[in-house]
């Protein structure tokens, strides 16, 4: 196999692993939100397991990229793809960490035999949006599609708006009844984690734009 072919094979493998991390990330968010919604400890454990797998994948990507940088001294798009792969694997790993945090909130509520005082409609909306953003950002990254990446930025505003709405709503509940404060704070934390997930999806979209154009476009 020629040097160039070897390089292409290695970089393709790195991006295949990123695809695997994306699947773990989406699975983790879905199951951790299900765990929180249904107060289901088993569902909560999915994100905990995925976190371990994701960490291994991230390290593997990092090692392969380091080797490519060291041995092949890549430039131009090759370089941009490697730098972006390293950053995006970090973003995906953080997303899974946030899902794990949501799972931890669910486990705490199960242990304390808590019940919900309201339906988690706003949080579910945030979850759907963030998953959509991850899917789009990763598709943009893998297919080098700038326009799709730009759409991710727009969706982040929706997630932020949902978070603000949840925040205001929960404050009213907590002011009315101080027995709801612990649960209210947990919902708020879950919202905060999902807002961070959307932020990391934006970072991935930024990487997709960088690969495609060589430009760094910061979100407004």
């Amino acid at each position: 196999m020629g040097t160039r072919e070897k390089f292409d094979k290695d970089i393709n493998e790195v991006y295949r692993m990123l695809g695997e991390m994306r699947d773990l990330a989406i699975d983790s968010i879905n199951s951790s939100m299900e765990a929180l919604d249904k107060l289901d400890e088993d569902a909560a454990k999915v994100a905990l397991r995925n976190d371990v797998k994701s960490y291994d994948l991230m390290r593997n990507i990092e090692n392969r990229c380091t080797a490519l940088l060291m041995l092949q001294a890549p430039v131009a798009k090759d370089l941009r793809k490697i730098v972006t792969a390293m950053k995006s694997s970090g973003d995906l790993n953080r997303i899974i960490r946030y899902a794990k945090n949501i799972s931890t909130l669910a486990i705490e509520m199960v242990k304390e035999k808590d019940e919900h005082f309201k339906k988690l409609i706003g949080l579910k909306g945030m979850k759907d949006k963030s998953i959509d953003m991850i899917e789009k950002a990763m598709k943009a990254l893998l297919e080098e599609n700038k326009n799709l990446a730009m759409e991710v930025y727009k969706e982040e505003e929706d997630v932020d708006a949902l978070y603000e709405q949840i925040f205001r709503e929960l404050i009213t509940y907590m002011v009315e009844d101080n027995r709801k404060i612990t649960r209210g704070v947990r919902y708020l934390l879950a919202g905060r984690y999902l807002e961070r997930v959307a932020d990391h999806a934006c970072n991935i979209a930024e990487g997709a734009i960088y690969i495609t154009t060589g430009e760094r476009i910061a979100p407004d």
């Binding site: 160039r4 001294a73 430039v75 131009a76 798009k77 370089l79 941009r80």
Partner: protein
């Protein structure tokens, strides 16, 4: 920053074969400009046109102009041009019959300077300038060829500096050197740009990326892309440049 060398519509031939095609390139003063491209693309010919060495080859000719400080060097005495624009070659080539010290000031002797004290002072100055003094101060009377490859190349740069040029052309100056000597040479080139304008031809893309401020990519005698080095290696505009620097051809 101002333009030190302005190459305008430069064409070069070896006999019937055109090796440079309408090159237009402005080289900044006190900067390092790297010229990259596959073998036979015209890199060496281009820098040999900058100090009128191309025309010395039988059958070779040049059209167009090269302005040094806005004066066309093709309208001036080539010997004077080469005093202002020095050159360092691929293989270190100290004069074998001369000592280290004599080599350093060979150019001055050729100009007729005979004052021994002046020559010795100048030799020390330029050997120090290339960071060689501490290594050779006790071997100044040994033949220049007795030094290591890396030392010989720095001696050749010292020899070029002794005639006080404004521009230094370097034709793959590190291609015959080991990695440590290469690193020292690159450090030296970086130091020298404070006082000189440097144009370096290199086959080694990492070297171009490491040392130069600007990079020009030549392909089949044409200037394909010229921009600041970071830009060219991070986001080349031309697909040919992208493919060449990524090792997809060449």
């Amino acid at each position: 920053m101002s333009t030190k060398i302005r190459i305008k519509s430069l064409n070069g031939w070896f006999g019937e074969k055109q090796v440079l095609k309408d090159i237009n390139l402005d080289i900044e003063e006190n900067s390092i400009t790297a010229i990259i491209g596959p073998s036979g693309c015209g890199k060496t010919t281009l820098i040999r046109c900058i100090n009128r060495m191309h025309e010395v080859t039988p059958g070779a000719r040049v059209e167009g102009s090269v302005l040094l400080d806005e004066q066309d060097i093709y309208k001036e005495d080539p010997v004077k041009v080469r005093e202002r624009i020095g050159m360092v070659f691929q293989r270190p080539n100290p004069f074998p019959t001369m000592s280290v010290l004599e080599n350093a000031v060979a150019g001055l002797k050729l100009k007729g300077i005979r004052n021994r004290k002046l020559l010795a002072e100048k030799a020390e100055e330029v050997i120090k300038a290339v960071g060689l003094w501490d290594e050779v101060k006790n071997e100044l009377n040994k033949p220049g060829t007795s030094l290591s490859g890396g030392q010989q190349q720095r001696l050749c740069i010292a020899r070029a500096l002794a005639v006080e040029p404004e521009v230094l052309l370097m034709d793959e100056p590190a291609s015959a050197l080991d990695p440590v000597s290469t690193m020292r040479l690159e450090d030296l080139i970086y130091e020298l740009k404070k006082e000189y304008t440097i144009v370096i031809v290199t086959h080694n893309m990492q070297q171009a990326a490491r040392v130069s401020d600007y990079t020009a990519f030549l392909y089949m005698g044409e200037l394909i892309e010229y921009s600041n080095t970071k830009e060219l290696f991070e986001r080349p505009k031309n697909d040919l440049t992208e493919r060449y620097i990524s090792g997809r051809f060449g």
